[in-house]
Symmetry: C2
Subunit: 143 residues, 2 copies
C-alpha cells in the first residue's frame, strides 16, 4: 500500500490523481479494503466491495489515454473520522481541455481506517439538465 | 416546525413520508434551514439552499396524485452528529405497485442541528444500466 493519507482531502487528491493518470494501483490505495465500500458510476449500477469496484475502474482506465480531469469541492460535511465531499468533476478526452468536458457531480465519503483516510463511497451522476448553475456558495466545513 | 427528529432514521422516514404524501410542509420540516443544504434530483442540476430546494419539491409534488414509493437503506456511515445513508428508492405512479417503479439510488446526508436531525443533502441518480444487482450485504453501521 502507498503512503497513508493524512486527511480526506489528501485521499481525494490521490483518487483524482489516480483517475487522471489511469493508475489502477494508485486507485487501489485510495479505497478502503472493505466490503462496505460503494461505487456508483454515472448511470451505472451499485457496486459493492473493493474487488468489484476496482474491476470497474480497471475497465474504465484500461486502454485509454489519460483523460483531462479537473475537480473542485463544492461542499464538505465532516465530523471526527467521517467526511463527505460533494465534488464537481470536469472530464474530457485526452488532449481536450477539461473545461470543455463532461460535468459530473459526485458525493465522496471518506473514513479514517486505522492507518489512513480512505474512500468508502463514490456516488457520481450526470446532470442531464441545468448543466451550468451559478457558482456555489463558498465551501463551508460544518462541525 | 414539526416535532424534532430524534435520529437520522426518523428524519429519513419523515422525508419519504412527505415525498409519498406530496406533503410540502412535511418536506420543509425535514430539511435543515441552511444555505449549505444540497439537493440533486435524478439527472438534475445542483440545487443549493432550502429555498431553491423546496421550490423544486413544490414543482415535483404539486398537481400529482401521491406516488407509490418504497425505500430501503443499503448502507449507513455515521459518526457523532453526522450520518450518511445510501438508499434505494422505488417510485411508481399513483396506483401502480412500487415494486414495478423506477429504481433510484440516493445518498442522503443528515446532521443534528441543535434541536433535531435534519437533511443536509439528497443526491439521487438513476441507474441507466444494471438495474437489478444482487441484494447488498447487510446494513452495517461503521463507527
Amino acid at each position: 500500500m502507498g503512503a497513508p493519507f493524512a486527511d480526506a482531502v489528501a485521499a481525494e487528491r490521490a483518487f483524482y490523481q489516480a483517475f487522471a493518470a489511469c493508475d489502477l494501483q494508485g486507485m487501489s490505495e485510495v479505497w478502503a479494503d472493505n466490503r462496505e465500500t460503494i461505487c456508483i458510476h454515472p448511470g451505472g449500477p451499485l457496486l459493492q466491495g473493493k474487488t468489484a469496484i476496482l474491476e470497474s475502474w480497471r475497465e474504465i482506465l484500461s486502454g485509454v489515454l489519460p483523460p483531462r480531469l479537473r475537480h473542485r469541492e463544492l461542499r464538505r460535511f465532516a465530523e471526527g473520522m467521517l467526511a463527505v465531499h460533494l465534488v464537481e468533476e470536469l472530464i474530457a478526452p485526452h488532449g481536450a481541455p477539461a473545461e470543455e468536458g463532461t460535468r459530473i457531480l459526485a458525493t465522496n465519503v471518506y473514513r479514517y481506517c486505522g492507518d489512513s483516510w480512505r474512500m468508502m463511497q463514490h456516488h457520481a451522476s450526470l446532470p442531464l439538465v441545468g448543466q451550468h448553475p451559478p457558482d456555489p456558495a463558498p465551501i463551508a466545513t460544518l462541525h
